[in-house]
Amino acid sequence: MIDIFINNLPILIVTVPLMMSLFVVLVTNSYLSFLLTLATTFITFLIAILLYQEVQSYSSISYALGNWLPPLGIEYIIDHVSIIPIIIISGIGFLATLFAYKIMPSELSDSSISKTYGLWLLAISGLIGLVTTGDAFNLFVFLEISSLASVALVAMGAKQDRQALIAAYNYLIIGAVGATFYVIGVGLIYAITGTLNLADITSKLALMEDNRALIAGFGFMVVGIMVKAAVFPLHIWLPRAYAYAPSAVSILLAATATKASLYILARILFSVFLPSENIVSFTLTYIILPLSVFAMFGGTIMAIYEKDIKRLLAHSSIAQIGYITLAFSIGTKSSVAAGFIHMSNHALIKGGLFMAITSISYYIQKRVTIENLSGLGKAMPITFCCFIICSLSLAGLPLTAGFISKLYLIKSAISSEGLWLSFMILFSSALSLIYLWKMIETLWLSPLNKKDIKIKEKPVIYSSLLLITFLNIYFGLDASLIVNSSFNASNLLLGINK
């Protein structure tokens, strides 16, 4: 009995939240639907941990869906690479659900809460499916499941601010164009290889020379995924979507949604198109590297001039995505590992920052702008401490998780690209201190509004914030877990040749 459960873990992690999402929608009681969602995300996280342990001993698990063996059937792959985003998505999913308990009812009407939780689970299951599947077309389906669910989640913010509808609409249209680009690419690759299994595509591509269909297919696939991952010039949907979504949804999306697409990007670049090395290295050096540098500075500068805090954090996310793609674009083993390290650390940092801002907006009952923050640090010390620690982690100061990722990123940049790139990284992190300091200054040094004095922090709100802040410090002090699994991932992804 237990055997059946253990053998089918790779599919259970996708189907448990998928099936529960259908069930949660039918529950009319909002408290009950919260409990069901919490239980489901907890089970998903447990399955992820079990899979992590299995990956440590078997290195790669291939699961044939419905016993149709790959390359003909759909294959689910759990290995050192895909386990990282799986742990991030399920872990942050659990923490964000825990945090959403009081936040959701404060922003949404009672009748829409269970529907929101249904979409919430659907988005989580879509994202996990996206990273587990080893089939190019199945990947598209999960891409659309996750993005349609996130669009509907963003649109739920319409009760707070009607701009959420426009944000959701733009997200939907741009996302759908991106996904269609990906499908065109898959079609072209299918035309020349005759297979949809990602591993099989690699072995078929190894037998042929570079041709036009391959280049076009590669381009379409990469651009499609870059739209979903919000890589710099294709990021326009992101700030609005994160800013106007319900706060709990912002936490979930900011910490997980782009990470899954970034993982797919890494996998397409380094593993699927491994045989056509010329095209990949051209794309990395001449397209992704300059775009990442633009993203680092563009995102940070836009954040400096932004007054709305949620939008500010979304702009800073674009800069952080820039660091991750920069790490990928250098293309050595240590830099790709740095990319994965920053991927998991950024999920912790942004999750923490969005949670802190959400708690503030919960207490002051208003949209959080820079003026509204005035003096709140004195009224809510715990939230403020967590906010400072996460901010320092974002800027990359020592003893925080952000420091570890910056350290590895700069180390790998120096060893392969020289000093100029590491200088750019340091300079843009220094710039990010400007907007972080702006917030901390108003929180602590400005006078407190009279009506905010009565604010009392509730443990039910700050417990998950404390937990995520603790993780930020813990992984800053003892980073061996993240660093080791990231290096395992990059070793597996880049293979023996680099």
């Binding site: 659309e144 349609l148 649109a155 509808l165 249209i173 164009v177 003026e371």
Partner: protein, 137 residues
């Protein structure tokens, strides 16, 4: 030249539809027309897949006693069946959003909507300034 161009007739149609669809999505300011453009764009991709699966002289993949029958590739059709379902879901969600936008903003023209948002933004700023003034008094 002409015969070779005619031989890939379907691909020309795919290409033209793709460009028309993408142009409408980018160029039109009307939210509903954007959805029409998106649907045309997606349909062109469906046609691309179906064309890939067709083999000259091939028939539907049903087993017959004649072993020399040439079959068209059924896999792209199955894939496109899935893609159509995804496309319907996308269109449905987009239309639902447009209905909500129309009922709240009273318009589905992008320019009108951004004008509304701009007015909102200024109103917010004005009330903010007032509240700050009151606080400082």
């Amino acid at each position: 030249m002409i015969t070779s161009a005619m031989g890939i007739w379907n691909y020309w149609i795919v290409f033209i539809l793709m460009m028309i669809g993408l142009f409408i999505v980018i160029g039109r300011k009307n939210l509903l027309k954007k959805i029409v453009g998106l649907t045309i764009f997606q349909t062109s991709v469906f046609l691309l897949y179906i064309t890939l699966g067709k083999i000259t002289g091939g028939t539907a993949p049903i087993l017959t006693e004649n072993s020399s029958t040439i079959y068209s590739n059924p896999l792209p059709h199955v894939l496109i069946l899935t893609a159509i379902v995804v496309g319907v879901a996308t269109t449905a969600l987009a239309l639902a959003l447009v209905v909500r936008i129309n009922s709240i903003y009273g318009s589905i023209e992008e320019d009108d909507i951004s004008a509304h948002d701009l007015i909102d933004y200024h109103d917010q700023n004005n009330t903010l300034k007032k509240s700050i003034l009151q606080n400082s008094k």
